[in-house]
């Protein structure tokens, strides 16, 4: 991503050459159910349908049949302390259609999240248990350091 804003072309200006355009694409999980061959991206608002298509075809070598875009209104939020309203930026959503025999499923990034959490909890329980044991053992001699007993 360049640090410069992608300048809007005005008639009469010199031919634009941008080597690092301010373009980004983010794969997002669709909010509504859609066919398996449609993928949703959040993209920078300046990108056109052709930009999205070229981005996916040239860089990622994806078969793109059609691109439809819309601009989604950013969420508003009320400040909890002062009560003023803030608004997130609008974002362009691109619905990219691939050939009908292709299928895309959104990756389950947190597939083993529950498993990992269980492991964490288990080790936490074990250490809690150990500390409780230590306290029990030293009930009658408070203030003794941990290394004192065998």
């Amino acid at each position: 991503m360049s640090t410069r804003w992608y300048p809007v072309y005005q008639r009469g200006n010199p031919q634009l050459r941008v080597f690092l355009p301010n373009f980004w694409m983010k794969l997002v999980r669709p909010t509504e159910d859609q066919p398996a061959n449609v993928v949703t991206f959040a993209v920078s608002t300046q990108m056109t349908k052709h930009d999205v298509k070229n981005y996916l075809e040239k860089i990622y070598k994806l078969p793109v049949v059609d691109v439809r875009t819309r601009i989604a209104l950013g969420d508003t939020k009320r400040d909890q302390v002062h009560g003023y309203i803030t608004k997130n930026d609008d974002v362009k959503l691109a619905y990219v259609t691939m050939p009908k025999n292709e299928a895309f499923t959104f990756p389950d990034i947190f597939a083993n999240k529950a498993e990992k959490q269980e492991q964490d909890e288990k080790s936490m329980d074990e250490s809690k248990q150990g500390f409780r044991k230590f306290l029990d053992r030293n009930k009658k001699r408070p203030g003794t350091p941990g290394w004192y007993s065998i």
């Binding site: 909010t31 509504e32 159910d33 859609q34 066919p35 061959n37 449609v38 793109v64 049949v65 059609d66 439809r68 508003t76 939020k77 009320r78 009560g83 309203i85 608004k87 619905y95 259609t97 050939p99 009908k100």
Partner: protein, 560 residues
Amino acid sequence: MLTLRRGEQLRARLHALCRRCLSAKTQAKTLANTADDVEYSAEPEYPEIRDLSFKARKQQLAVDWHNEIRAVPTVEEKMIKLNMPRYYGYKVVDLTDNLVPYNALPLTQHYTRTVLEQQPATVEEDAKLDALVKATREDVIEALEYAHDLYKHQLSLLDTQPDAVQRERQLTLIILEQVNRAVLQALSADFAHLQDVEIDYNPRHEAFWAVGGVDPPKNVVKSKQGNEWQKDQAHDSVDRLVQYTGEPYLALRHRHQLPNWRTAEESNNLTLAKQLPRYKFDARTLGYCTKYQHAVNVPGYWPSANAPNFGLLSFQSRAHLQLRPKTYGEEDQLEALHALAIQSSYAWLLAQANYNGFNTYNELTYPLNTQTVITNGREWSFYAYQLNTLLVHGAHVDENPVVNFCRGTAPLPLYGEISEAGKCVDFNEATLRQLLAQYSNVPSIQRSPAELLPYVRDATLRRAADYENGEQREFLERTFKHLASKRPRHLELPEIYMWEKLYKIDNPTRSMEPRRRFFELNINPWRRTLDQHDKEYVPRVVRPGGKKNREGRYKKTYYP
């Protein structure tokens, strides 16, 4: 002579009166007894136990409404009745004849309950048809050459050239007018039905229907999940309303119906119905749009008693297919043509069915047939469609065993090209054969009015024009045409301003302000019904019953 005292006289009278009264009562009782005996039977007959669950009650309400529509006497009133629930129109999926998105065939087959079959590109050998091809060949070639020449001349007169889509539309219309004229001229001597056809140029074909089996939108799911007793029904499929709008180049209509090419037994096939593709996602995921509009059904003309009511042939445009990106591929191009043919044929037949008193909620009682040609002047695809059922809404999408049929060919070239000198090169007789076969298909089915219009009252009352009351006639006519005109309502839909959405709806920051706007008073303007408007004022001068009559201050309304 015995004379009674005054008191005894009275007592005797009272006695006589009571006796008379008692005897009358006992007589009535004996009569009633016989009636009671009839009421009792050896086997108790209980009325049917009705399912009182929320879902069943909702379904029953819907069925009651469909029966109400069926009971409405005239064709126009049925269509007004269909629109009664919404003042600002229904939210409909907008199907048009100038947009076919990628992979639209499964949705089209689901929404129209149509089985698609491939038709062989060659017509059966027929000596009569061969002779006709030979006879019309030269005329058609001449018509093609003339059309190209004419259009070339028309273009040369213009300063700015129209775009490619517009050029194709204009040229195809000229070609079709010329070819249609040439074919009718050549064939009408042998085929008497061609002398009675009505030709519509650029007619208006519109149809409205309801489709079931679509996944519910997110807000419906969320609202149901919020209710404990509705949680398990949150993902039940919902109905979508569909409005097709099209404008073919030409449409030919006739008084009689085309013969069916599928029998009732073949059409009634639950396994076939189960195999139909189902597009359960929102139609917007394909690229279709939604809009708000009234339910409109127009087969190219207004309801009239003696009009040729049945479609023979329609010529659809494929000019917009040029706008589809090349990435869609050849296979999808063919599927798009099939989808276009199915949608346009279904919509035209549905609109015709509407003029015979049927609609998307009241099932067809006899099949309807039509033929459709999609052409750009050079490439021609030929389709035949048989409409057997209209029920696609609600549970019918799963349970209705009847399906519709469409069979069609791939696009066939009528000629190779028009040379520099304006001569037609590589004329294809096989395509002309197909075209002549469709023209020579004789509409032979004639039905009695009672069979044709089972849900319309009777011979004395079929259309709004049959009402005796002039005021009622005028009211129905005006309302019906206004609905079909798609003009915006007199009272515009109230607007929610952006600042109101930010500071009143999404973030309630102005709690001290009086609540006066509709969204603060919990009023949904979309729920307004068609008859919720001020009645028309009758000026005193023309008021029936004199100037002082306060009864007739407002004009009566005759909503069904």
